[in-house]
């Protein structure tokens, strides 16, 4: 073994070192690739069916091709959760914090890697879904063009929704630390919450993640609630609202991560 103590390179560990560590961690798990592949395949598969059963390519057609993105939302939420909770379950978190005791920097690196992977996956799923839906349209129905108003925005923003949802999961993972409990909360807030809150108060519905993805981000034109005075959030406000969800979870997660013993 070499002599030690005199071999310290200049500088110190930086964000980029930690981002590299987190990327290696994420990519070295088979479950990551499996989950992302299912997310893309499922949303594109649903879009194939949507296209073949559509009688028009106007109106809600574009947002209908993107309806499978909700599966991606659910799955990417669990990828975010697991990026944190699997470290606590396995004990890796203590190896991680021993390697990099600045915990908030570790969390930021995780957020950057998970957020970027979610964004790429989301865009791949959204574009594939749109083209899959167009591909199976019946003979004689012209597929919408990306250049038509709102089409490209709907695809890009529906794809982008996976990033804040992944960070929402990551933040909740840091708060809760237990995989099953954290996934239950993510699914509860993103999906099941609407069947309770959504029925109670129509005014709250536009702010629930599931409706933001399906009615705000995926829509080519602003939509209003049926029979009600209020409308769904606009596409950009919807994305902003998802970012708020992610920010709240991440800030709470960061506070707890910094204070609690690992």
């Amino acid at each position: 073994m070499t002599a030690h103590a005199s071999h310290q390179p200049p500088g110190r560990y930086r964000f980029r070192h930690l981002a590299q560590m987190e990327w290696i961690k994420l990519r070295s798990l088979r479950s990551t690739w499996l989950t992302l592949a299912i997310a893309v395949a499922a949303s594109a598969g649903i879009a194939l069916a949507t296209g073949s059963s559509s009688t028009t390519s106007g109106g809600m057609f574009v947002s209908n091709t993107l309806v499978g993105m909700l599966i991606g939302v659910l799955l990417i939420g669990t990828v975010g959760v697991l990026a944190m909770t699997s470290e606590y379950t396995s004990g890796t978190i203590r190896a991680t914090f021993a390697a990099a005791p600045r915990r908030l920097r570790v969390l930021a690196a995780k957020a950057a890697v998970v957020g970027a992977v979610a964004l790429i996956t989301g865009e791949a799923a959204a574009f594939l879904s749109f083209f899959a839906g167009c591909m199976t349209l019946r003979h004689g129905i012209t597929a919408p063009a990306l250049s038509q108003p709102g089409v490209l925005r709907a695809i890009v923003l529906a794809g982008a929704s996976l990033s804040p949802i992944a960070l929402f999961g990551l933040g909740l993972g840091a708060i809760i630390r237990h995989t099953a409990a954290a996934i239950t909360v993510v699914v509860g807030i993103v999906f099941v919450g609407e069947s309770f809150i959504g029925q109670l108060d129509l005014a709250i519905r536009p702010y629930l993640p599931i409706y933001i993805v399906s009615h705000s981000l995926s829509a080519t034109t602003p939509l209003c609630l049926p029979g009600a005075a209020s409308c769904w959030l606009s596409a950009w406000s919807g994305l902003g609202m998802l970012a708020v969800y992610a920010a709240i979870a991440m800030v709470l997660g960061a506070l707890i991560l910094a204070r609690r013993d690992a």
């Binding site: 073994m1 002599a3 103590a5 560590m21 070295s28 004990g91 890796t92 190896a95 914090f97 390697a99």
Partner: protein, 241 residues
Amino acid sequence: MIEVRGLTKRYGSAVAVDRLSFDVPPGAVTGFLGLNGSGKSTTMRMILGLDAPDAGHARIGGEAYRQLRWPLREAGALLESRAFHPGRSARAHLTAMAASNSISQSRVAEVLEIVGLESAAGKRAGKFSLGMAQRLGIAAALLGDPAVLLLDEPMNGLDPEGIRWIRGLLRSLAAEGRAVLVSSHLISEMALMADRLVVIGQGRLLADTTAAELSSRAPSLEEAFLQLAGDSAQYQARNMS
């Protein structure tokens, strides 16, 4: 060099570590001896900045752990036998850890060789036996070629050959001038391995001495240790009644 000064940790009204002070000097194996639950692991976690002390502090090479520029290159630690994701290969786990401190891929190969895991490096670590898991943990501790090593019960799960291997490894690491802190409840093993002994009970320092001095207090090191630990347990019982 590790310096521990007045380190204290409470969980509610229970005191896990009580105003503990000791040094781990370079060039020696320091045995950290205590019965189960005496506060050894909590102390090690506090030295590594994983648990926040209620009072006191620990320094590595004169600095708080959180201030270290390249933590893995200054201190290597084995805290639990399975501190890795079961779905990740040994090589991937070490490569990820190495990246955090800008340690080269060739060093990853080197530590895999040192611990004898080259052939199993590509396998999912969840399938490892306890002995292999322990070797992976030791490889992770050696990654940064650090001047300070902290190992919590490294002999757990190793067969006699493995125990002899780690004894030799730790002795040679100390001979190279490193500060090595090894916790164990195996007294006889400590007699063979450690130059110095830090004995604790109920989180308090009971002895900070050499193995030779402690064994001279009784017919055997084991008896000397049990006397110390037993006195401390009785003290605790008196206090509670």
